[in-house]
């Protein structure tokens, strides 16, 4: 098969995956409204199927482009959505916490929707972008951002749960605050570990490509900002009394920073990452 054919398959898989996420989102919401387990199970199936198709889209993209598909806005956005879904499915499997889907799928859908608006043209890479360290850097960013996406959704639930304390559905399907706090913490830990590695691998790449491992470029600075916010989150959880609500708020702010680091910095602030 020619690379063009692979890219055509990618197009089809991507579109079906996007529709799949949309369907999963609607089903999760219905699950919330109708409160029927069957609907929830269906939503899980749609999310998992969309994820598989999405994986197929990324693989065919990689084959079609003849390189790791992580080099422009479109490729990173679609991988970012994939990362959130991957982390969500892991957390779903581990914590059997389906209602989270109602909060995660809109985020996935927004990110993949953003990807759909980007140019899908495959362009050859400039020499500085042809680096294994860059591929490692961006792959870890996907996992990190995915985990933060999950913690964002869990923290939103935490904040909402406080308002819905006496709803029986919330009590049955949404874990109690201590557990929500714990799940959010697990997601942030995963994200924080990988974000640290994102910064280290990025520094190694920058050192090899530009000769300086840290140059306070806006994108670097914003990843540090995000990192500090999550460091504050981690300490807030430890110091008693601040656990729970303020930590949840920080996880929400942290994810907003993640999104800004990813989209806002490229478009609003100048820097060496702006061609990415």
């Amino acid at each position: 098969m020619s690379s063009g054919q692979f890219l055509n398959i990618e197009n089809v898989l991507f579109t079906i995956a996007m529709i799949g996420y949309l369907a999963a989102m609607v089903l999760y919401w219905l699950f919330f409204v109708l409160k029927k387990d069957m609907v929830g199970k269906c939503a899980d199936c749609f999310a998992a199927a969309a994820f598989l198709l999405h994986t197929g889209a990324l693989v065919t993209r990689g084959i079609g482009a003849g390189r790791f598909p992580l080099s422009n806005q479109y490729e990173f956005a679609t991988s970012f959505a994939w990362g959130i879904c991957a982390c969500y499915l892991v957390f779903l499997w581990k914590y059997k916490f389906r209602a989270l889907g109602a909060f995660v799928t809109p985020v996935i859908f927004l990110v993949i929707g953003y990807a759909a608006m980007q140019s899908r043209e495959v362009r050859e890479l400039m020499p500085a972008l042809r680096s294994h360290w860059l591929a490692i850097h961006v792959s870890s960013a996907i996992i990190s951002y995915g985990a933060f996406g999950v913690s964002f959704a869990v923290s939103l639930m935490f904040l909402l749960r406080q308002k819905k304390e006496d709803s029986p559905f919330w009590q049955e399907h949404i874990p109690d605050e201590r557990r929500l706090d714990l799940i959010s913490y697990r997601a942030v830990s995963l994200g924080f570990l990988f974000l640290t590695f994102v910064m280290i691998s990025g520094a190694i790449w920058a050192e090899r490509a530009w000769g300086s491992y840290w140059s306070w470029d806006p994108k670097e600075t914003w990843s540090l900002i995000t990192w500090i916010i999550y460091a504050i989150y981690l300490h807030l959880r430890i110091s008693r009394g601040w656990k729970g609500k303020s930590a949840a708020l920080f996880a929400v702010i942290g994810f907003i920073c993640v999104i800004f680091t990813y989209i806002g910095v490229n478009t609003l602030l100048p820097g060496i990452h702006s061609y990415a």
């Binding site: 050859e124 400039m126 020499p127 500085a128 042809r130 680096s131 201590r178 557990r179 714990l182 830990s189 995963l190 924080f192 570990l193 640290t196 590695f197 280290i200 520094a203 790449w205 050192e207 090899r208 490509a209 530009w210 000769g211 300086s212 491992y213 840290w214 306070w216 806006p218 600075t221 914003w222 540090l224 900002i225 500090i228 916010i229 460091a231 504050i232 300490h235 807030l236 430890i238 110091s239 910095v265 602030l269 100048p270």
Partner: protein, 429 residues
């Protein structure tokens, strides 16, 4: 004094410092950095511009209060680690025993079991301690992932090393740029070395985009005449005499020849953007403003290049006499500039390379710090210390408890689940 130390070494103070660091980063990313004072005064209102300059926000990451902030954060991290070290060491040495477990109040019964040993082994506790407690009861105790308690400590240590490595690097690093075309040798200012560009290649793909830039270089110690050669390309710097040589950027250069009535009086290689004084005619200056490898006139009448291939070279020049402009034009390959008795021609267009030479003697320190941070994070998040304990009640019935500070309810839930699996759910839950 003790009180001050307690505040300075506290986590609350650390959070305040992180907050200030956050604000500094925000300012540094939003306000353009390193511009002239006049820029801030004209771009922002007079008061805002004045405030930016007064607070050093025009160069946040190098201003004195930022350096002081980093120093205080280091102090805070060091203090925090010193304060916590003794208790961690004691806990690590003597903190994990059945007796400790009971005394810390963790021995709260989760369920009863008839086969606690089997259960604990199923949960991954392979080395179990069996002993008689003070009140004569049999007990079984197991602990897993003990190094996990050091996670945060190592993370803090690593951060400290990273900040130190980065800070020292900022103070001690040196950086030089040398550019030229193959065959040229230039001094690396202030180092006693000189750099020869042996070769420079630009690999183009069929669509004229660049695949790679590769320079072959030789560095020579002018004192000892010792020399080292290497190749540097984008993402693959060479290391010569402990200095990292980066293929940083490229551009076009050309040979400029000045003739006076048919005899060559001056010949130089000029890079686009450079200028030269015509030695034979005082006051005459030539500026090689731009080069177009595949020249064409754009729709707006401005010169531009149709591709990056060397197909139809043209040179944009400006000529000055005692500071007054004499002329400006685009010169095709076979054209010449004539001024009085002088003829100037451009030939041999070729790529020049800009090699950035750097030495940061502390990168290794920051790298070690980064490894320690990662190790600390893995210890803190994924080696969660867990303890299990069973105390015989009567006969074959044991009271089982478990504790994990980081694992929380997740760990005790796992114990309950494993209990159901090992005993088929027949025990009381």
């Amino acid at each position: 004094m003790k009180k001050i130390a307690r505040i300075v070494f506290s986590m609350k103070f650390a959070l305040v410092l992180l907050g200030i660091l956050l604000a500094a980063c925000l300012a540094g990313s939003v306000i353009p950095q390193g511009k002239d004072a006049s820029y801030y005064l004209s771009e922002y209102s007079e008061q805002a511009g004045g405030a930016i300059l007064a607070l050093g926000l025009d160069d946040v990451f190098h201003c004195s209060w930022f350096v002081a902030l980093a120093a205080v954060l280091c102090l805070n991290l060091t203090g925090c680690n010193i304060v916590h070290f003794p208790s961690l060491a004691v806990r690590s040495k003597n903190g994990f025993s059945p007796d400790r477990f009971r005394r810390s109040g963790h021995a709260k019964e989760l369920f009863e079991s008839s086969v606690p040993e089997e259960l604990f082994q199923a949960c991954g506790f392979h080395r179990l301690v069996r002993e008689n407690s003070a009140d004569g009861k049999d007990c079984i105790y197991g602990v897993k992932n003990r190094p996990g308690i050091w996670g945060a400590w190592f993370c803090h240590l690593g951060m400290l090393i990273v900040i130190l490595g980065f800070g020292l690097g900022q103070m001690k690093q040196v950086s030089f740029a040398v550019y030229g075309v193959p065959g040229q040798t230039k001094p690396v200012e202030g180092t006693g070395y000189e750099l020869t560009i042996d070769d420079f290649e630009v690999d183009l793909r069929p669509d004229d985009t660049v695949e790679q830039y590769t320079a072959s270089i030789t560095m020579r110690d002018t004192g000892t005449s010792e020399s080292r050669s290497g190749q540097t390309s984008v993402n693959h710097p060479a290391t010569l005499f402990g200095m990292r040589c980066y293929q940083n950027s490229t551009g076009w250069a050309a040979k400029v020849q000045v003739y006076k009535e048919d005899s060559l009086v001056q010949e130089e290689i000029l890079c686009a953007g450079e200028q030269m004084d015509v030695e034979d005619k005082e006051g005459l200056t030539l500026v090689f403003a731009a080069f177009y490898p595949d020249y064409e006139e754009g729709e707006d009448g401005m010169p531009r290049t149709a591709s990056s291939g060397l197909k139809n070279p043209a040179y944009l020049y400006r000529l000055y006499y005692r500071g007054e402009i004499l002329g400006m034009n685009v010169l095709a390959a076979n054209e010449a500039i004539t001024v009085d008795a002088y003829t100037i021609i451009f030939t041999d267009p070729q790529n020049y390379t800009l090699i950035q030479i750097k030495r940061d003697p502390f990168t290794w320190l920051a790298a070690i710090g980064a490894v320690v941070v990662m190790a600390g994070l893995i210890l803190a998040f994924y080696l969660r210390t867990e303890e299990v304990y069973a105390e015989q009640k009567d006969g074959n019935v044991w009271s089982v408890s478990g504790y994990s500070r980081k694992g929380g309810a997740e760990f005790t839930d796992l114990l309950v689940q494993k209990q159901k699996e090992t005993e088929g759910g027949k025990s009381a839950g």
